[in-house]
């Protein structure tokens, strides 16, 4: 990693750590950005670094949110246990969906993941544990490790920040490891990776499960922040949003999804009150990104300064 890049991450972390000292940016908003940034980073591991476009990542985000919400509210589990169970559930789901989806390539992979996540959506509508249209509301944030009261927004914020940093570091570790290099080789030229003797399907599946588990971590955390798990979390619009965040920020860049998540979440907050315009704006950004801005914000900036990843 470049020395300047390291410095940049340190500065960003410092800013994030000092955020509760001001009251210009609402803390719940910052937590929302962090959750979605983690979600987008996890998604980018799959799309940007392995070249697999999953159109069903809402299934992992949403099911983890439901699992955490269910255990914390109905069974009174501690938040750390709830999150662990959510992550475990989404990893397991990732194993199932991933094993099916990697049997097809390219465009079919996207359609299979979309269809399977729609199945999870229908299950969330029908199962007795999920509360149907209402979802699970009023999830208690609880006390972390038995002594940190998370109902305090500042405590919750640092907890979310810690989770984000953990997830982000794990993704960075994965990308820069030999394992990550093989993933990139698969992205660039799958037949060649096969001919070099790599069991491509196994690498794809492992990457898919890591991505699903981290998406689940984001979903579980989100359900504690907002004390809520609803059908929105598993809907295909959510899968589309995470694609957009990654595309807008810059596919295959480390920081891109974080930037993309920040922009998309701010935009949605801004447009939330004017009916369908958030959907229209989302669609419009998609079109513009694909036609004219394929490298994304961070990708363009890196290209401008000629920074190599």
């Amino acid at each position: 990693m470049h020395k300047n890049t390291k410095l940049l991450y340190l500065i960003l972390l410092l800013i994030a750590a000092l955020l509760p000292l001001q009251d210009f940016i609402y803390l719940v908003f910052a937590m929302k950005v962090l959750c979605f940034a983690l979600f987008a980073c996890a998604f980018n591991l799959l799309l940007g670094f392995t070249g697999l476009l999953s159109f069903g990542h809402a299934a992992f985000f949403g099911s983890a949110a439901y699992i955490t919400a269910y255990f914390c509210k109905e069974l009174g589990a501690a938040p750390e246990i709830g999150i662990l169970l959510g992550v475990f559930g989404s990893a397991l789901l990732g194993l199932l969906i991933g094993a099916l989806a990697i049997r097809r390539q390219g465009i079919y992979f996207a359609m299979v993941t979309l269809a399977l996540s729609q199945m999870i959506y229908f299950l969330a509508v029908q199962l007795p544990y999920t509360g149907g249209e209402d979802g699970i509301q009023g999830v208690p944030r609880g006390t972390l490790f038995g002594f940190i009261d998370l109902s305090n927004d500042v405590h919750m914020y640092y907890f979310v920040l810690a989770i984000f940093v953990f997830g982000f570091a794990l993704i960075m570790r994965t990308v820069y490891s030999p394992f990550g290099q093989i993933l990139k080789a698969i992205r660039e030229n799958e037949p060649r990776a096969v001919s070099l003797g790599y069991d491509v399907d196994r690498f794809k599946l492992i990457c898919f499960v890591i991505s699903a588990a981290l998406s689940g971590l984001a979903g579980s955390t989100k359900s504690l922040v907002f004390q809520l798990a609803t059908l929105t979390d598993v809907h295909w619009h959510m899968s589309g949003e995470v694609v957009l965040m990654t595309l807008l920020g810059g596919m295959g860049t480390i920081l891109g999804p974080v930037v993309g998540a920040g922009i998309v979440v701010s935009l949605q907050n801004y447009l939330a009150n004017i009916g369908s315009w958030s959907t229209i704006a989302t669609g419009f950004i998609f079109v513009v990104c694909v036609l004219a801005f394929r490298r994304g914000v961070v990708g363009e900036i890196s290209a401008f300064f000629k920074i190599k990843h």
Binding site: L100, G106, Q118, T279, I280, G283, F286
Partner: protein
């Protein structure tokens, strides 16, 4: 046997008819997706939105346009809509292809998917903004209102539904005939196989690609008009359908036109039967079948791995 399971033959026939109608829509839409994918190598995510748009254009033609233009007697009735709406939608498709999709052919497939996904969101959002999500009703034409009673087995067949199945079949099979048995179809198949070679023979391949997209979008618009009197015309009607159609396409594979039609119909029927015997599973049955097909025959029932 049926009485034992608490199922009446009437209920069974009614659900099978509903299944056949859904199957017809799956067949028309997956046919359009297959044609577009064959030549453009793009999965048209906005197919569902274009279907919605077809239904809305028909509804606007029937109820709104006379007020907009100030001629109360000027309305586009169902029969005109059936011909005009697909043409309007094909024109819309032509514009999209010429202005946007054309720029993506040299890129990875996934960009086509993302662009059409964005278009789908814009179309869906605009209609939601203009007309809300409550849905508008569109009456069936007078000729097709009412039902045909079949007293021998004690069931009633609504005329409009019979018509939808019949006309969809006609459109699907004539499309199949044109593609598989005519010279134009031969060009189309050659273009799917090897566009560069076809162009070397002096065929205008870019024009053919534009027309193929226009035809696919036209088919989606046609399905929209057919659906308008059955379902409420609402902005979300297409997005829920298109995901199921994607599963249908994965099951059938996009290599074969007949495969797309038969898979669509067959899955509609299976879904209808599931509603009779185990209603809770009817919304997921197609996805479960998709999972099984992926395990047993990853290329799809009629597919070839490229």
């Amino acid at each position: 046997m049926f009485e034992l399971l608490g199922i009446t033959p009437q209920g069974l026939v009614a659900q099978l008819l509903v299944g056949l109608i859904n199957g017809s829509f799956y067949a028309i839409l997956s046919l359009g997706l297959a044609i577009i994918f064959g030549l453009l190598n793009i999965i048209n995510f906005s197919h569902g939105a274009q279907y919605t748009m077809g239904a809305f254009v028909a509804w606007i033609g029937l109820t709104q346009i006379s007020q907009w233009l100030g001629f109360p007697e000027l309305t586009m009735n169902y029969w005109f809509a059936l011909i005009l709406v697909p043409l309007i939608m094909a024109g819309f498709g032509l514009i999209l292809e010429r202005t946007m999709l054309r720029r993506l052919y040299h890129l990875d497939h996934l960009y086509g998917l993302l662009l059409t996904f964005g278009l789908a969101l814009i179309i869906e959002g605009l209609f939601r903004d203009w007309y809300g999500i409550s849905g508008e009703s569109y009456p069936a034409p007078e000729l097709l209102q009412g039902a045909i009673p079949l007293e021998a087995i004690g069931i009633i067949l609504p005329k409009y539904r019979i018509w939808v199945v019949a006309i969809s079949m006609l459109v699907c099979f004539s499309t199949w005939y044109v593609i598989e048995r005519t010279k134009l179809g031969a060009y189309l198949r050659a273009g799917t196989e090897n566009p560069k070679l076809l162009q070397a023979f002096g065929i205008n391949v870019p024009l053919m690609i534009s027309l193929a997209y226009a035809y696919g979008v036209g088919l989606a618009g046609f399905a929209g008009v057919l659906a308008a009197p059955i379902f409420q015309v609402n902005p979300l009607m297409g997005s829920n359908l298109i995901i199921i159609v994607f599963a249908v396409v994965v099951i059938g594979g996009m290599g074969s036109i007949m495969g797309a039609i038969l898979t669509g119909l067959g899955l509609g029927l299976i879904e209808g039967l599931t509603k009779v015997f185990y209603p809770e599973a009817s919304s997921v049955v197609i996805f479960v079948i998709m999972a099984i097909v992926l395990l047993l025959r990853p290329a799809g029932l009629f597919g070839r791995e490229k």
